[in-house]
């Protein structure tokens, strides 16, 4: 059953076509990877799904076009982790994670706004406040940042910061998580940790769409992949068919070493880009 459906999606910005007539179906509970070289349109696709860019075509969730949902309803169902991890103010980790509950807060004229402005509008004991607190706590436990909750977000290491931002996204308790390169700046241990976390979210019933550059991680963790190149879908489907040597050569312009690793009863593929086919280069 498809949860998220993209039909005939095209994005033009400043007279430049960034995505061309893209169709995509993402199943509920799936860990779906978006891969492709720099400038292929991966981030653009995520932003279009999040309604952050003007586009033509349809993006629907459970058969309902997202453009028809209110911003609030959309924010409750889709959570987004951007590539930009700058934070202007050094707020605490706990306050950062709590921002993920914004889609559930009351309108300001019902007093919540003044509560946020410091009049204490949110009373303990009401159901929403309890749900918020539980979601925030679970998100921090899942990402193992509970012990960091009082720390300032700007004092965290890169790996801690990535987990704190992920906790902020988990706190939304959305149906679909869209993460744009969540492991880009992380060491191998944290890359695996973040990917395992996303995998666990899928097992818990959420659907995850993740932009990745690391093809081995994509092959190891994703259920299905979409390979983009210059705004066009080159291949989509199971890992084995998308990450074929011919695709790697034509899209990424690299010759890769593709091997297999037996892990229990599962066989995983690893892909090591080895030589690049630069025009005039020495590679074969």
């Amino acid at each position: 059953m498809s949860l998220l459906k993209v039909e005939a999606l095209s994005v033009d910005i400043g007279g430049k076509r960034l995505l061309e007539n893209l169709d995509l179906e993402i199943m509920a509970g799936e860990l779906f990877g978006l891969i492709g070289p720099n400038g292929a349109g991966k981030s653009t696709l995520v932003k279009a799904i999040m309604q952050l860019l003007p586009y033509s075509g349809t993006v629907s969730l459970d058969g309902q076009p997202l453009a028809q949902l209110s911003a609030r309803a959309r924010a409750q169902r889709l959570a987004y982790l951007s590539q930009d991890d700058r934070l202007q103010w050094p707020i605490s980790v706990q306050n950062l994670v709590a921002l993920g509950r914004h889609p559930y807060r009351g309108s300001w004229w019902r007093g919540a706004g003044l509560g946020s402005a410091g009049l204490g509008g949110r009373k303990g004991g009401n159901a929403q406040a309890q749900a918020d607190e539980r979601a925030i706590e679970q998100a921090m436990q899942a990402t193992d940042i509970w012990s960091l909750r009082e720390r300032r977000a700007d004092e965290l290491s890169g790996g801690e910061r990535a987990r704190a931002r992920l906790a902020r996204v988990l706190a939304v308790e959305a149906d679909v998580l869209l993460a744009d390169e969540p492991v880009a700046a992380l060491d191998p241990m944290h890359q695996l940790r973040v990917m395992e976390l996303l995998r666990a979210r899928c097992q818990a019933g959420q659907t995850v769409v993740v932009v990745l550059h690391d093809l081995t991680l994509a092959s190891r963790f994703c259920d299905r992949l979409l390979l983009l190149d210059q705004g066009v879908a080159v291949a989509s489907g199971p890992v084995e068919t998308v990450l074929s040597p011919s695709h790697l050569a034509s899209v990424y312009s690299v010759q890769a070493i593709i091997g297999e690793h037996q892990d229990g009863d599962q066989v995983h593929r690893y892909i090591v880009p080895w030589t690049c086919d630069r025009p005039g280069g020495t590679s074969t």
Partner: protein, 358 residues
């Protein structure tokens, strides 16, 4: 690994027990309500002090008696007609400058943003002077604040467009300085060319600001605009909080960015513009106050708004009391006092943060 910061002396939870763990979570708005209450009490206390000082110092009991219509007529007159409007104006100006400074800093994601530095106040002053000295204010009492608010709006929109175009923090501040210089120069020019030229004292008043010798009529004229403006700015708190994540993630959380911008630009133009129409441009309040209070709200841009409003009123009151206590032969302008405090503060802020933001 850096030292783990503990708040309120709480102990690290190592048991993983969910119930006790929840109890150790700092409530999300904890401390802010206490901070606001404290600032409000301080503000009320300072207001009473402000009613005491002046050419004829009064005791606290004389002030209270005068305020409620008891005691000698002269005391009633001094307290109610001379000093009370001054206190109320200090409140309005301080609320407007403090909260708009905090809101602009949150929106532009720039800790140096402030109505005075960005030239919004001096633009409003230019609008006021133009109506005042070319006779438009005689036609309609609302023309003065309306023109000031309009000019404040134009300046805010211009600076916002600049910030949106991706200019650096430095460009934004420099553009603000340019706007401010231009508006100040045009204000001086307008006063020089006015049909019946006014003296230097008037020019100084508009450029530096003062709240002395104002009447209840002045307070009434701007009260509705300032209150509406301040409420619009306070209403931006929840969205401003989420904007700390950047525009894309804030939008993904349901924040309506165009609405947030309108709230803050309109709120600033109304509150600051209206105040400047009566008091002239008073600088640096919107810079100093949010910066001093930020750590007490744990750097949360939305939570900072109300404390900054109250803190702004406190700072203006303190400055206004100070200039009366200093007792120079000719009373100092309020804007001189705030600039004497604010300008070195601004310099220190720039020097300290130039590495990462300029």
């Amino acid at each position: 690994m850096r030292l783990h910061l503990r708040w309120r002396g709480e102990q690290e939870n190592t048991t993983g027990d969910q119930v006790s763990a929840r109890r150790q979570t700092t409530p999300l708005s904890a401390g802010t309500a206490a901070l606001n209450l404290g600032l409000l009490l301080l503000l009320l206390g300072l207001s009473l002090m402000s009613l005491r000082f002046g050419a004829a110092p009064l005791s606290l009991s004389e002030v209270v008696a005068g305020l409620f219509g008891n005691g000698p007529d002269t005391h009633q007159l001094i307290v109610q007609q001379i000093r009370l409007p001054r206190v109320l104006l200090a409140w309005l100006v301080g609320l407007a400058l403090g909260v708009s400074g905090a809101a602009l800093q949150g929106l532009l994601r720039n800790p140096l943003a402030e109505p005075g530095l960005l030239g919004i106040s001096s633009s409003a002053g230019l609008g006021a002077v133009l109506t005042l000295y070319f006779g438009l204010s005689a036609l309609n009492a609302w023309a003065l604040p309306a023109a000031a608010m309009l000019f404040a709006l134009i300046a805010t929109l211009f600076l916002y467009a600049l910030a949106r175009a991706g200019s650096s923090n430095l460009t934004l501040i420099l553009a603000g300085v340019a706007v401010s210089a231009l508006a100040s120069a045009l204000t001086s020019l307008a006063l020089n060319l006015a049909p019946n030229p006014y003296d230097v004292q008037d020019i100084v008043l508009w450029l530096l600001g003062s709240i002395s010798d104002r009447s209840f009529a002045d307070v009434q004229l701007i009260l509705p605009f300032v209150l509406i403006g301040v409420l619009l700015l306070l209403a931006s708190a929840p969205a401003l909080e989420v904007l700390a994540l950047g525009e894309a993630e804030a939008t993904s959380l349901g924040v309506n960015l165009p609405r947030l911008r309108v709230l803050i630009i309109l709120g600033t133009a109304l509150s600051v513009g209206a105040c400047v129409a009566v008091t002239g441009a008073i600088g640096f309040v919107g810079l100093v106050v949010p910066h001093m209070l930020r750590r007490f709200v744990r750097y949360r841009p939305g939570q900072l708004l109300l404390p900054s409003a109250l803190g702004g009123a406190i700072l203006v009151l303190v400055a206004d009391i100070a200039l009366r206590l200093i007792g120079t032969p000719k009373e100092l302008q309020l804007g001189v006092v705030t600039a004497l405090v604010g300008a070195p503060f601004f310099l220190a802020l720039v020097l300290r943060s130039r590495r990462d933001m300029l």
